[in-house]
């Protein structure tokens, strides 16, 4: 055997993984570094004399109050992620310990008990006692905790710390702390929250000018607490001028909130639009460019979604990578299915669109039933990788789920990739040539039947890729495709057949219209209204928003 053959797989795998890592979004990396606390103690232990975090925490359990104060001091120089929780619990009297050597240290959170060091749930009584603290230690700790949370490396934690300040009320001491921190804070979100906290603090001042300034400051804040504080003043304050100023501030906050609600709606609309775009874009190729009515398009999407499921079942350890593996896999599988459909059925029906419609509809039934028989008529559960779940909160009233954000980006990426293929590659050139004038294209040496098969494969492959994305949003079951087929056709027809840009615009606008109608009409009626609107629109402009012009349109 050639020695190279033996080496290559071992070397390429890490290389591929490395390459895939680059593709992983940045915040996923951030999260992986965050969730590696076990590294810190081991490095600390390497520094010989210094007691580890674990030892110090265990020291808290015993000794006199003075010893405890010393331990707290030592602990506060540690930069362990668990420190904040330990201190918080200690202040609140929720840090418990038993008399073992070394003792078990537990944090009580309501009914729940967790081990302070391992984070594991503790069950059963272990004769845990509260670790006593006195007032002077408590004061010392409060400052420590506040500072600790404020200096947390994670922006969300810092933000939460400031939020807690606002909620619990700001006193002189914390105000000073916040002022000091504001100088070094680099996240705008946290900065804003600190400003709000300080303004809430200043509202309690005796100086009327300061209070007015604080109200002015708060009128730009979206925090719930800011609104509550202002409302309190607007309703109860003795000073009329302050009351009206607060009322005005609330009004300006409300208008900003409604603006953000609008932005949120806009985003949801675009996200719905991107789903429509993904579902329809393959159809824009097969129906729009080739003129083939493929009623089995929805089932190709379904196959793509099932591929995601298959990848997750085959590689259960690689859930984080499953989507990245599923995209090319789904593309290949559905493209092959598509080519098989084209070679097996559609090829014989060119120029007979109604027959194509019926035949492909039959195929869609067969594919559906095949999935039902092979897997199950029940929905399969597709899990989402960690990096795609969660929400991105931009400010207190506007937050966006990562899934929808990624699908929006992904939809646009697929769209532009397809655009490039159509405009910049030889295949795209040939596709356009064949679709515009088959006879002439053949005359200049384009193998039109080959191009047909490839184009259909391309459109089907894109449908499969869409299926991967949709598997993150909807149930993956045999009926997945049916839910999208009519919508997809509507998008393509609305946008103008044979026009990729039209498809983009129409998908997005349908998504937006649907989303803005929903609050008034309800989900079902909104959909009905959109359909009726579309039906009427097609009557008015049968060729869609952006009809093809010139000779290509003449048929």
């Amino acid at each position: 055997m050639n020695p190279l053959c033996r080496i290559t797989p071992r070397h390429t795998l890490p290389a591929v993984l490395l390459w895939l890592t680059c593709l992983l979004p940045l915040h996923a990396n951030a999260q992986t570094t965050d969730s590696a606390p076990e590294e810190t103690p081991s490095t600390a232990a390497a520094e010989a004399q210094q007691p580890t975090f674990e030892q110090l925490v265990q020291q808290l359990a015993g000794g006199s109050l003075r010893d405890r104060a010393a331990t707290v001091n030592q602990l506060s120089s540690q930069s362990d992620e668990r420190l904040a929780d330990v201190f918080n619990a200690l202040v609140a009297g929720d840090l418990l310990a038993n008399k073992d050597k070394p003792p078990v240290i537990a944090i009580r959170d309501g009914e729940r008990l967790t081990d302070a060091l391992s984070g594991a749930d503790l069950t059963g009584t272990q004769r845990l006692r509260r670790i006593p603290v006195n007032n002077s230690l408590r004061t010392q700790l409060r400052g420590q905790v506040a500072q600790l949370n404020l200096n947390h490396p994670n922006t969300d934690k810092r933000y939460a710390a400031v939020e807690r300040f606002i909620r619990d009320g700001v006193d002189d001491e914390t105000a000073a702390l916040l002022r000091a921190h504001q100088q070094v804070e680099d996240s705008g979100r946290v900065q804003d929250a600190i400003t709000t906290a300080l303004a809430v603090y200043q509202l309690q001042s005796d100086d009327r000018a300061i209070r007015l300034a604080a109200i002015d400051e708060l009128s730009g804040s979206l925090e719930q607490e800011a609104r509550n504080a202002l409302r309190g003043i607007a309703e109860n304050d003795a000073d009329a001028e302050l009351r009206s100023a607060a009322a005005e501030a609330i009004e300006s906050i409300q208008s900003r909130i409604s603006f953000y609600r609008f932005v949120e709606n806009l985003f949801f609309g675009l996200s719905l639009g991107s789903v429509l775009l993904l579902a329809a874009i393959g159809l824009a190729i097969t129906f729009g460019v080739m003129g083939v009515i493929n009623m089995a398009h929805g089932e190709l999407i379904m196959i793509g979604a099932y591929t995601t499921w298959g990848v997750q079942v085959l590689f259960p350890d690689l859930i984080e990578w499953s989507l990245l593996i599923a995209v090319p896999a789904a593309f290949l599988i559905t493209a092959l299915v598509g080519i098989a459909i084209e070679r097996g059925v559609i090829r014989f029906l060119y120029g007979r669109p109604l027959e194509t419609l019926l035949a492909t509809f039959g195929l869609s039934l067969v594919l559906q039933q095949a999935v039902r028989t092979l897997f199950s008529p029940l929905n399969r559960s597709v899990s989402s990788p960690e990096w795609i779940s969660g929400t991105l909160s931009i400010n207190p009233v506007l937050s966006i789920t990562y899934t929808r954000l990624y699908i929006l980006i992904f939809g646009l990426m697929v769209f532009f990739a397809l655009m490039l293929v159509m405009k910049r590659t030889t295949l795209g050139l040939k596709v356009r040539a064949v679709s515009q004038n088959r006879a002439m294209a053949r005359a200049v040496g384009v193998r039109s039947s080959w191009v047909d098969a490839l184009t259909f494969g391309l459109g089907s492959g894109v449908a499969g890729v869409a299926g991967v994305a949709l598997s993150q949003l909807t149930n993956v079951g045999p009926n997945l495709g049916q839910a999208y087929i009519i919508d997809s056709f509507m998008v393509v027809v609305f946008g103008g057949v044979g026009n990729l840009w039209g498809t983009l615009v129409s998908a997005m606008s349908l998504g937006l219209i649907n989303n803005f109608l929903e609050p008034y009409a309800g989900a079902m009626l909104a959909k009905v209204l959109v359909l009726i609107m579309l039906i009427l629109f097609i009557q008015k402009k049968p060729k869609g928003l952006f009809p093809q012009k010139g000779r290509a349109a003449a048929d």
């Binding site: 039959g362 039934l365 039933q369 079902m524």
Partner: protein, 364 residues
Amino acid sequence: MLTQRLLLSDRGGMLVLGLVVLMAIIVPICNLAVPGDSPLHVSNFTVGLLGKFLCFALLALSVDLIWGYAGILSLGHGAFFTLGGYGMGMYLMRQIGDRGVYGHPELMDFMVVLNWQELPWYWQGFDMFWFAMLMVLLVPGLLALAFGWLAFRSRVTGVYFAIITQALTYALMLAFFRNEMGFGGNNGLNDFKEILGFDLAAQATRVGLFIASAIALVLGYLACRYIVTSRAGRVIVSIRDAESRTRFCGYQVESYKLWLFVFSAMLAAVAGALYVPQVGIINPGEFAPLNSIEMVVWVATGGRGTLFGAIVGAFSVNYAKTFFTTYSPETWLFILGGLFVLVTLLLPKGIVGLFDRFRRKGEK
């Protein structure tokens, strides 16, 4: 003269109609008069099944009229069928009176559940049979008129028309699934008691409905035949084959298409109205786009553009459906799907075309 035009020149049609009439005479006799243990006895189940098939045949006829002769593929005929069914269903619901589960003298059970206080305006008058039947014809007819007028006027044809009719029935399905529409939402209308005073559970009523369906089919066939053999029918065929040319000759292509579409929709609605009392339920599931496409397959399988082919197709596909869904439900969708592909690829003229081919071979 008229007999010559409608029947004698149409040997296949004569044969099929003859069979239908024969069935309408023999089946009731064998069901009611022949004792249950005799081999000639036709079971109640078979009567119900054949009655359903007769309604489907009428529906297929309406699809064939518009698709086979005018070349307009409507994937929304299920909507007209179901609307007709709902019209009849509303009449039957009003006949329940205070015998519903909640015993309300006027409101339907589902309205009581929704806590409605009075009958919605569109339910008024449905307690009268003549009014309900008028609505069965008028509502789908007007929908087809409005929809067709908009579509044909702006020259929406071929696949586009197919897709928007599919969207129409899909939209109606979504709308009727809503409880607020006042048509029973998900469950639709069911639990009917009597029609025109006859008990719906009685076998004699069922046989009566069976005969009514057969008569409707024969009359519907003759009406369709009358249309396609008329002068207008010739224009319609020429529209199918060369629309622009017909338009250039000075014919009002749009209005021919429109009136044919409206007539076809009403025919479908009548089929729906006859279907509902026989199966005892109507729900929004009937609007499903799949149903509408299935109708087209009946016609395609039987042979489009022959009228009697539609009847043959409706009977044979539905018989196959009943057979397979009882004996191996898993395979039915495979077979239906395969049928779509096979008929379009290999049998463009359907079963009727197959017979024609054999006959011509025989003549040679």
